[in-house]
Subunit: 312 residues, 2 copies
Amino acid sequence: MRVVDLADGVRRADPRILARALSVIERGGEPARDLLAALRTDGGAPHVIGITGPPGAGKSSLVEALGLLLNRSKGPVAVLAVDPSSPFSGGAILGDRVRMVRLAAAPGCFVRSMATRGALGGLAAAAADAVDVFAAAGFPVVLVETVGVGQDEVDVMHVADTVILTLPPGLGDDVQAAKAGIMEIAHLFAVSKADLPGADQAVAHLRAMVELAPPGPWRPPIVQVSVVAGEGLEELAEAVAEHARFLETEERRRGGRLDRAEHRIRRAVQDLAWRRLSAEHAGRLEAAIKAVGQGRKDPYTAAEELLRQLES
Amino acid sequence: MRVVDLADGVRRADPRILARALSVIERGGEPARDLLAALRTDGGAPHVIGITGPPGAGKSSLVEALGLLLNRSKGPVAVLAVDPSSPFSGGAILGDRVRMVRLAAAPGCFVRSMATRGALGGLAAAAADAVDVFAAAGFPVVLVETVGVGQDEVDVMHVADTVILTLPPGLGDDVQAAKAGIMEIAHLFAVSKADLPGADQAVAHLRAMVELAPPGPWRPPIVQVSVVAGEGLEELAEAVAEHARFLETEERRRGGRLDRAEHRIRRAVQDLAWRRLSAEHAGRLEAAIKAVGQGRKDPYTAAEELLRQLES
């Protein structure tokens, strides 16, 4: 299928063409870049909501429940479930996605998982590109879910306007330390499985943490949610809406968009610089690797010399 | 202190100058690069042993116990404790380091923690640079400990010849999924706190996993260790020595060194390309960020245009 036809189909939000377009994005490389270039429009930007949290927090059911709610109030919802864990163990996690059947069947809604990216740039870049595809298709709301940990997770969440961190009750200090990076970029905390013991304690724990953080214009609300008992979902949707309103003021949303654009350009420049060097100066690169590997040269001197080649 | 004097002091393994040199490395930037360039020698390469695992696995006590053992058989041991968790919660974890007092007091040994890096390149680059400093100081063994999760942790562990993954008993499937990336680069598994219930089960679990992995020339051994009971440490040290012997065959160690050199050069080239672009073409970069942020241009087209500027 030609790039223009693919782009047209995406703009019409044709679900089959959307699926093909996302596969092109997932594979990466030249075809993905061509598609993204063809998709540029002055179309509206969706509200991108990121949902993350440790395995076992019940993210998938929360995403589906929130998606169904937002579908009723805002229109078609797209879900991108991103799994940065390796293929070695990724299967079980991806299996969760097939459970999001109710949302996938809702009119105009679309559920997609993404686990690998063949090309350079990584999964976080692919997630950002996929959100561009959903934007071109006119979805007013895009939910991005990730089970990542550490920097991967933070990278994927960079795509979102609003980040929800989902935590199960009975959360120990260890988990908190491990999740530190993501805690700082979360706009909302959802304590899931609020029907289980320990939920109140988790909320108190989080509240103390939020109060310790340096004061800013936005104080992350903490919402207790139980998908099983059907509790707290409206409150969570309201908190999301409130954050959306916050973003609209003082051009905060635009600022966030510019930060994310810089992040994406940086990653693209860095990938491209390395690809060119590897392709056009392979011999010099090999010699540099040998010199650094044998301790005859430090990597920074080698990098300066190589970049000079690229610039000449 | 001049760079040549700093480099001289490092080569003499003067502990006070070593500490200053590591602070220079930690701060990064031009002084760090100058020091690394001055330190290049044809000196021997230490056996770099990485130790990682989730918080609560008892890594610090294991590192100290293993360090004391290796000190008796191999000579001076350097420890680098790397903490990629954010400053927001990093304090408690760093506090652990002060407990490594016995090893720090052993003759010729050196214990250092590293939590932040001001300059570009990140903590993983700083850890690799710090290992270069220890190599120049002639340490035969360097232990690198990290509490990182996900990609951070994998990045830091790239510095090591031998990677030990420490896991506590009572390890659930969730933790395994979360640690998938690191499982694949581990050469040895140490089930810590072997005196606690669940240790045998954890070993059985790991054994099943190792057997599922594609067969290779090295099959990761699984060792039960209890620092409290003083059990399994000799066995762990023997497994480490066996991996060192494995590396010496068929130039495997050299291959690993070249891979790591490539990794470091890549990171350095990418940082440098971005720094130059930001410094020398700030106006064009700002315009590109605006265009991508407003959806008028895709990040890959913007990257190509910007890199063309750098090359012209």
